[in-house]
């Protein structure tokens, strides 16, 4: 018996010795790497072989992005990066794909250690501001100037939300609408209801559905941002109007303790208290909640354009045929324009301040490539809203649901989402505060005061 233990220990020692050896002989290891690389990634193999043919020095840069696995942009990115590699054999991309939540951890860890990839996916607004003010990014103003046609093709949001102090750091890979009201037409018809035109009508519709055992509005708020991003941003805008938020955040005139903001908070509370949402809205996430809507158990679901690819793929056909899309109705006495919806630019690719001029040029080329007309057409293929206002999309190949969303975009201008206008700390207060109001552990006045204090 003791022999077996000893042999186990010996085996362990051998293993360690092996590790020691392999780290001591880097050449041998490199060889192995090349072999495995060629096996798993034909692209690297291609670039490797190209390298041997032409002795010209290639511009090499690292790229980190979060479009992988089940992400809606994963296929898009894979295809477009392959196109880019083909179109530009002079560049060599060392690509790292990391799923979204992990991506943030890895990027922020390496940033804190003073290390960043040459090019990486960045979120608009708060994150861009934090990175830009720490001088970690290179702007693309020059490239935009040189390509006015490209620059002018964007909807303003796609560049503005990456712009800090007049310097633009990226361009959005599409846009995200955050407050589409998806509703099940069949359920409305079943109970002789029309989509509401006012807040009072909305309350009435909710009551009828509630009485008949239908979930009026499906909400999955475990992650805390959905109530803020999908419901409250638009709901508050109906009360306060569009200029109010900027004014309140910059401390010029409006305040979070203003009555119109408190009214908005109270309306959210009223909706929650009357049972407008599924009972488990606090404990399921924004993905899980879709099943209520897909099963026809919920009459409405307020969510972003990011739901669309999933809906087209996973919702049953009979439900899909009845899905309509619109926005929240206007509110009686509210200062906001009822014909708006909240939206934000999608993520973009940013350039590290440490990138060399050659690398910068290459990455700028890539940013343009991923947002040019051809790419924009491809967004439509993958059911992502485009960030260009000039691109012509072939309507015949379009999914009917995507077409409905395009109609929404044409009809309703977008207003700011709360978490895009606020810094990350205020967003955190808002997200948790709204959750507190909904479960009754915080009053609207308390949250308003807390927000006002944070501004000051």
């Amino acid at each position: 018996m003791s022999k077996r233990i000893i042999s186990l220990v010996l085996m362990g020692c051998m293993l360690i010795a092996m590790v020691g050896c392999s780290s001591k002989s880097p050449e041998k290891k490199k060889e192995q790497e090349v072999v495995t690389n060629t096996k798993e990634d034909t692209n690297t193999a291609k670039t490797e072989s190209n390298k041997q043919e032409e002795p010209v020095e290639k511009v090499k840069f690292t790229l980190w992005h979060s479009f992988v696995g089940a992400d809606q942009r994963a296929e898009f990115m894979e295809k477009r990066l392959n196109d880019f590699r083909e179109a530009h054999p002079e560049y060599e991309i060392d690509e790292q794909k990391i799923p979204r939540d992990q991506y943030q951890t890895k990027l922020k860890t390496e940033a804190a250690a003073g290390e960043l990839p040459d090019a990486f996916v960045i979120w608009p607004n708060a994150m861009t501001k934090e990175f830009a003010s720490a001088s970690l990014l290179k702007d693309i103003n020059g490239h935009l100037e040189e390509n006015p046609e490209w620059r002018d093709s964007f909807v303003s949001r796609a560049l503005d939300e990456f712009t800090v102090d007049g310097k633009t750091y990226s361009a959005g890979l599409g846009v995200s609408i955050t407050s589409i009201v998806y509703y099940n037409k069949a359920l409305f018809e079943k109970y002789n209801l029309e989509y509401p035109n006012s807040y009072a009508e909305l309350l009435n519709v909710i009551t009828v559905f509630k009485e008949n055992g239908v979930i009026p509005i499906a909400l999955g708020n475990k992650a805390k941002w959905p109530a803020q991003s999908t419901i409250f941003s638009c709901l508050a805008n109906r009360e306060t109007g569009s200029e109010w938020l900027d004014s309140a955040l910059s401390g010029t005139g409006s305040k979070f303790t203003d009555p119109e903001f408190i009214t908005a908070l109270n309306k959210l509370k009223e909706l929650t208290d009357m049972g407008a949402f599924n009972k488990d809205y606090n404990t399921i996430d924004e993905v899980e909640v879709r099943s209520y809507f897909y099963k026809g158990e919920a009459a409405m679901m307020i969510g972003g354009s990011w739901i669309l690819p999933d809906m087209i793929k996973n919702a049953p056909e009979d439900i899909k045929a009845n899905i309509e899309m619109t926005v929240l109705p206007g509110f009686e006495g509210g200062k906001g324009d009822p014909n708006t919806m909240s939206g934000v630019s999608s993520t973009g690719i940013a350039i590290s301040a440490k990138a060399s001029p050659e690398q910068q040029a290459a990455i700028e080329e890539l940013i343009q490539f991923l947002t040019n007309e051809e790419s924009q057409k491809l967004y439509a293929v993958y059911n992502i809203p485009v960030s260009s206002k000039t691109v012509q999309i072939n309507e015949s190949e379009m999914d009917p649901l995507y077409k409905k969303m395009l109609d929404l975009i044409k009809k309703y201008p977008m207003v700011a989402v709360y978490d895009s206008a606020m810094n990350s700390e205020m967003t955190d207060i808002t997200n948790n505060g709204l959750q507190g109001i909904m479960i009754g552990s915080l009053t609207p006045e308390e949250l308003a005061e807390e927000l006002q204090k944070a501004v000051e």
Binding site: K222, T283, E425
Partner: protein, 292 residues
Amino acid sequence: MDLIFKNKKTITLALLPALLIFFVIVFMPIMRSFVYGFYKWNGLGEPIYVGWKNFIDILTDKIFWSAFKNNLFIVAASVLGQIPIGLLIAIVLNKKLKSTSFFRTIFFLPMILSTVVVGLLWSTIFNAQVGILNQLLTKLGLEKLEQDWLGNPKIAMYTISIVIIWQFVGFYMIIFLAALQNIPIDIIEAAEIDGAGELHKLFKITIPMIWDTIMAAVVLCIAGSMRTFDLVFVMTKGGPAHATELMATYMYNKTFEVYKYGYGSAVSLIIFILSLSLILISRKVMSKREDI
């Protein structure tokens, strides 16, 4: 004899590898992390030295204190739940039979499962809209007991504690199983011949004989509970409205979500100090009992 067990050379040589690895990989980085706690730093730009400001801010933040309270709750539930249950199961299964081997395996399964699966499954069971538990209560005519098990801030911590106990009982079970092997069979047999009951055997023989392991288990349990993160992160994200916030989720949020790296590091130093105090207290209390 004494000379051999006091031989400095042996002691140094044998401890050196462990200490060296530990010092370079654990100790140095932890110290560096503590230093960040004295800076105002968003994790990106230049850190600014602010002295004790972060610590003062943390200790006056009521969310931190409610997180601390939640951690204490988990510590209590774990020490009083996992350890006794784990010990009991270990004692019952400490036999070389086919059936005990089967149970030893399935009680350990929750440890093997990914937190994602555990979280998903229990969330579905405790769900307020379609949850199995509420459906069961309805069928039994106990509608009054139906709850929003994870969404109600008053009971969410109880629910989470149940899941934590469920998941980690297997961990203590195998630690105690190992410890039980150290009890010579003849002692137990002698007690049985004397006609000692099960309880007598448990309290007079088994527990005293593995007391060192129980103490080690309590240390592991406190340390683990004070930095619980995964399960809560998956099941409630610390919500609703901070109701299930723990010190580690609080720290993670500050460090990686709101760009307050220095503040987050200060939180981890406070977690460290609080956990260490708890462990020292527990060791004091427990070694006293050993003397009696």
